[in-house]
């Protein structure tokens, strides 16, 4: 209870679902030894953290940011540039993370001070502009970021697939660098998630929710809303950067398409909404559902498209083409905002109340 900051999932069905996801993720290297499934599991972990940090802004504070992936990119590029420039070592890794965090916080502070001072809706527009400028900057500064090609780099030896902690197999799986990387990602994501849970259940988090519900009243009660909103922006930016750093460590590669693209931002939005805004647990459910769907349903879409093409329905085949996956996602997203605004978490909690 203390670990969850007195904010358990509430609802038997939800608790069971989350427990299942967490247990599977914790045992993933032993349950699914394949490279692809381990990659899916790690992506779920990193996205769950990224989405949770975004929910601190969108769900808890009620402001829409389009620059969240920019902060994710700052973290990823920080690690990439440090490991590329200084060579693969733990020191370089730490320097990269330590350099990225202040940059993220400063960017978030600047954006927050400029756009939250007057109107929150400025924030959505300013962040979109800032994120796209940052994206251009990252692809222009070849000497630093590798431009469009991005940067591939070596991670510390203990995290490489070739490294073996113990010889032989344990419970049918090799204890190699890949598995150590996975558990590093798992531990970091779990810790940061619990830290976020602590933040939203602290007095500070309560004030954020008060501001979301009624800014005038919160201000009348004596809370400086600009201060709270800006601090929430900085906090979520820092966690997003850490998620980006984890992603860089996991993938050994960082480029504009994997760390800065607007489509990742859209993915994050979709995951937050599907999981449930205003509850961090939604991040876990949303990320798990989304990543699994993206990895396995795109194949289904492709099969349907091929079938439609075979039947001579070119238009339908075009609509079902796997590259048009984003369109179905967009439709799902709109429907979710309209009809299930509380997401998976809200639905499951409501079901529980209905039956119990």
């Amino acid at each position: 209870m203390n670990l969850l900051s007195g904010d358990p999932p509430r609802g038997r069905a939800l608790a069971a679902l989350l427990a299942l996801i967490v247990v599977i993720l914790a045992l993933a290297p032993f349950l699914f030894p394949g490279a692809k499934s381990l990659n899916v599991a790690a992506t779920i972990l990193i996205y769950a953290l990224l989405v949770a940090s975004y929910d601190l802004l969108l769900g808890y504070t009620g402001i829409v940011s389009f620059a969240h992936v920019m902060f994710y990119g700052v973290g990823a590029y920080g690690v990439a540039i440090a490991l590329y420039g200084l060579g693969p070592g733990w020191g370089a890794l730490l320097i990269g993370v330590a350099a990225a965090l202040p940059v993220s916080a400063a960017l978030a502070l600047a954006i927050g001070l400029f756009s939250l001072r007057v109107q929150t809706i400025f924030f959505a527009m300013v962040t979109l502009a800032a994120a796209s400028a940052f994206n251009v900057l990252a692809s222009q500064l070849d000497w630093l970021t590798g431009g469009e090609d991005g940067r591939s780099f070596q991670v510390p030896a203990a995290l490489r697939p070739g490294f073996h902690l113990v010889s032989g197999r344990v419970f049918g799986a090799e204890i190699n660098g890949r598995m150590i990387s996975y558990y590093l990602v798992f531990a970091a994501c779990a810790l940061l998630f619990l830290a976020l849970l602590r933040v939203v259940n602290s007095p500070f988090g309560r004030v954020l929710q008060a501001i979301r519900e009624n800014p005038f009243r919160a201000e009348a009660l004596g809370y400086r809303i600009v201060y709270h909103r800006t601090l929430a922006t900085c906090l979520s930016a820092i966690v997003a950067s850490l998620a980006g750093a984890l992603n860089a460590i996991w993938q050994h590669y960082v480029g504009p398409d994997t760390a800065l693209n607007l489509s990742i931002q859209i993915d994050v939005l979709v995951m937050v909404v599907i999981g449930g805004m205003g509850s961090l647990y939604g991040a876990i459910a949303g990320a798990a559902l989304f990543v699994i769907a993206r990895n396995y349903l795109q194949g289904l879409l492709g099969a349907l498209s091929a079938a439609a093409a075979g039947a001579g329905l070119t238009l339908i085949a075009g609509l079902l083409h796997p590259d048009r996956w984003l369109m179905w996602l967009g439709l799902m997203f709109i429907l979710a905002v309209y009809f299930v605004p509380t997401g998976i978490v809200g639905r499951l909690r409501a079901e529980d109340k209905g039956s119990g």
Binding site: G62, L326, Y338, P341
Partner: protein
Amino acid sequence: MSAIEKSGDIGAALPRRKIDFAPALLPFLIALVAAPLIGSTSTFVTLTFASLAMGLMLFTMASGFTLVFGLMDVLNFGHGAFISIGAYMATLVFAPLILWSQAGSLGLNLGVIFLAVAVAAIVCGALGLVFERLLVRPVYGQHLKQILVTTGGLIVVEQLLYALFGPDTIPLALPTALRGAFVIGDAAIEKFRLLAVIVGLVIFAGLSLTLNYTKIGLLIRAGVENREMVEALGYRINRLFLAVFMAGSALAGLGGVLWALYREQVHASVGESLTVLIFIVVITGGLGSIGGCFLGATLVALVANYAGFLAPKIALVSNIALMVAVLLWRPRGLYPAGGR
């Protein structure tokens, strides 16, 4: 009765509202600063004229967005979708009329452009109706959901365009008579840019006249200032808003045609990338006002062109710098509407 007749006198007794000139001088200031840096007069004239053309196209596309926000507090993140649709309508009209646009005659060339503009405006206006009814109306007054839903709308439209027209960039040749440039002294003024300037100025004049001298314009301006009051006086503001939304979408489509011809290519991502510029324009100019939008568009275009010439790598970042500088000076933008 005397009260009504004397109303003119009462107005005269009030102190005149001060007109705020300072922001309007900004474009001239920027041009003055940039001129010595650029050096050559002819390059300066060419760049300035190019900025004017780009600014007026941006204004055409942004005006609908800013009015929609001013009137109903609706932030339409899907506005860019109509720009893309307009651009694709241009390719649809140009393809069968290739003979007209390849003909040397200016009349036929302008005819095909006019047709493309008309088709784009009508299609985008009609789709604006659908967009407003399906996506925007259910979430009136909820900013968060508006932003989410209209962003979803932008994605769906963009992907639909990819599905219908293919994911590749479609080239769009300028009509023959509009290629090339007039050369005055050493300065080259591209013919198409001249057309864009004329069209943009006509739209600006039309919008200003409509807003300032017609009943509908009066209602729109009143609605921007105070929506409830207009409603209380018995006008159906929802219907007015629908009309503004459709007109704004039509203008976005029209701007899309011009932009496609200016770039001589069409791609569905154009709406998304222009959305960023439009946001910078609207924030710089002040949300909700047509005058602010015009000024913001001019400033953004001037800075983009000058910076693009002087330091190409920082062109997009220069716009952000402009926005930041303006927000430092005027936190609500240069000419915000209705005290927002």
